[in-house]
């Protein structure tokens, strides 16, 4: 479904990605893991066109997207839950969900406010509150709900459980498991190996802007100690 092929990227200075490659198949959950500053978020920004790749190719559903503008990439069916959540603080919870909602591909099981509130009942309680007044965990739920309301076929989450209390984290993981069971493809950046092993099909260890190791959850479980040292847990 998504193929990132040998991309390089920079923020104007030196290169940050040196030939990064990865694949996400239909209905698959794939992770990017690695120490801070290794280029995971930069990879995601390249996929979304926010910091376009300098070279290499990115294909989504067989279509080249590396030169498209961010809104065009999103309109192709990629939903982003960004690092730091990026909630719209001048909008209420409900407006955050509605403002950018869309169903461009005619989804079979279309996301609605009711469905998002079903997934995250805490958002329903706070629907009229300003997005800026939510707790970190609620903001994260809102960021996920907001991305789902664009009816994506691939959901990308960057550090979605960062800084959250264990119970809230568990809510997020439960939500992702449910989304997986509904057939959504997911690319997730996180540090929580236990949860990732239970959720994901395949993993990429990112080191200095390229893939240092990749394998299935079973393969990762076998050499978990090595990987943990490699990614600094």
């Amino acid at each position: 479904m998504l193929r990132v092929d040998n991309i390089t990227s920079s923020y104007g200075g030196g290169l940050i990605l040196f030939g990064m490659s990865l694949d996400v198949g239909a209905r698959e959950v794939v992770t990017l893991i690695g120490r801070n500053g290794m280029g995971k978020s930069t990879t995601i920004r390249a996929i979304m066109g926010l910091t376009p790749a300098r070279s290499g190719a990115i294909t989504f559903d067989g279509k080249r997207i590396e030169a498209l503008r961010p809104h065009e990439i999103a309109q192709n069916g990629i939903g982003l839950v960004p690092e730091g959540r990026q909630i719209f603080v001048r909008l209420s919870v409900e407006e955050n969900l509605v403002a950018t909602s869309a169903d461009r591909q005619g989804a079979a099981n279309k996301w609605s406010l009711a469905r998002v509130y079903d997934l995250f009942p805490r958002l329903a309680e706070r629907r009229a509150q300003s997005g800026g007044t939510l707790s970190g965990g609620e903001q994260q739920m809102l960021a996920i709900g907001r991305a789902l309301m664009t009816n994506p076929r691939l959901l990308i989450l960057d550090e979605a459980t960062e800084g959250l209390a264990p119970l809230i984290r568990e809510d997020i993981w439960a939500c992702l498991r449910q989304l997986k069971s509904e057939g959504l493809s997911i690319l997730v950046v996180d540090r929580n190996l236990d949860a990732l092993l239970g959720l994901a099909d395949r993993h990429y260890v990112v080191e200095k802007g390229r893939v240092a190791w990749s394998g299935t959850s079973a393969e990762l479980a076998v050499r978990r100690d090595n990987i943990e040292r490699q990614i600094g847990i």
């Binding site: 809104h71 603080v89 001048r90 950018t100």
Partner: protein, 304 residues
């Protein structure tokens, strides 16, 4: 008493005209981060297109759509050709580029319409007076202008707070990149907002036509006051633009009317005249300074 009431109404009318100008300027500055000095040119273009259409057709009711269309189209073109390139630039480049636009538009109008002021007739339907209180007649045209100003304020409030476009405007003002990453063509949204601001400036221009002279440079006079309005109100806020316009429009009108008069009861004639004139023309800047001392980000700062 009657004089006070009349001046209050004049102040209100000026306030609502300032609001029409401030609304567009504050949206463009608040959301896109662009200082558009040429906003006053759009006001002038609306006035000239209106005066031209009125002269050709003999009716204000065709001047109105002509002024609106001209300002909105020139505004859209200005955004697509010039302003779009300025979003990522620092304010100095924006000031220089939009100052260049002022020179261009002033030159263009002077060349095509001449330097002498144009006059526009009040539409006959609105040329009379309305007795708003016994013994207090007030020009119907000015009352109609106020009505339009209030209607635009309500319409903008509804658009910003209740519609999808309004949500995207608010979202885009603090997280532009995120709005794009969720599939919204923010460039298109910006063009739309810019053209809307231009349309409102054009509306102010056409409406002012029958009560002031239409001339080259009319935009720059009013632009300064409009900047004072949006700074006082809180940049980016429509509510702030409304409150700021009321405060500044009232202070300016009442100051000009009554400060020299009050001074005269204390000081000798010529001294009072000189001082009064000077003081009343700087009142709005004093008010701005006072507001900013108490509320550095204006009356209704935009959160986030």
């Amino acid at each position: 008493m009657q004089l006070v009431l009349e001046q209050l109404l004049n102040g209100l009318q000026l306030s609502l005209t300032l609001f029409l100008l401030a609304a567009g300027l504050t949206l463009v500055f608040g959301i896109m981060g662009v200082i558009n000095l040429a906003h006053g040119s759009l006001y002038m273009i609306g006035a000239y297109a209106g005066a031209w259409a009125a002269a050709k057709t003999g009716t204000f009711w065709l001047a109105l759509p002509a002024g609106l269309a001209a300002a909105a189209l020139v505004g859209a073109a200005m955004e697509l050709l010039v302003v779009r390139r300025l979003y990522a630039r620092e304010h100095l480049s924006q000031v220089l580029a939009t100052f260049g636009l002022i020179l261009f538009f002033n030159g263009f109008i002077a060349w095509s319409a001449g330097r002498s002021p144009l006059l526009m007739e009040t539409p006959p339907q609105l040329s009379g007076f309305v007795e708003i209180l016994p013994g207090l007649p007030y020009p119907a045209y000015r009352l109609a202008m106020m009505g339009v100003g209030v209607a635009v304020a309500l319409g903008l409030w509804y658009m910003i707070s209740r519609t999808r476009i309004g949500m995207l405007i608010r979202a885009g003002s603090d997280k532009r990149e995120m709005v794009e990453a969720l599939g919204v063509d923010i460039a298109k949204l910006f063009t739309l907002v810019f053209a809307l601001g231009a349309l409102l400036a054009g509306l102010a221009g056409v409406m002012v036509g029958p009560i002031r002279s239409v001339q080259v440079g009319m935009g720059e006079q009013v632009l300064i006051t409009t900047f004072v309005v949006i700074v006082v109100g809180g940049i980016g806020s429509i509510r702030g633009a409304f409150a700021g316009a009321l405060l500044i429009g009232m202070c300016d009108t009442l100051g000009r009317a009554f400060v020299p008069m009050l001074l005269k009861s204390w000081l000798s004639g010529p001294l009072a005249d000189g001082l009064g004139g000077a003081l009343s023309s700087v009142i709005i800047y004093l008010v701005m300074a006072l507001v900013l001392i108490v509320r550095p980000r204006g009356l209704f700062p935009v959160s986030g």
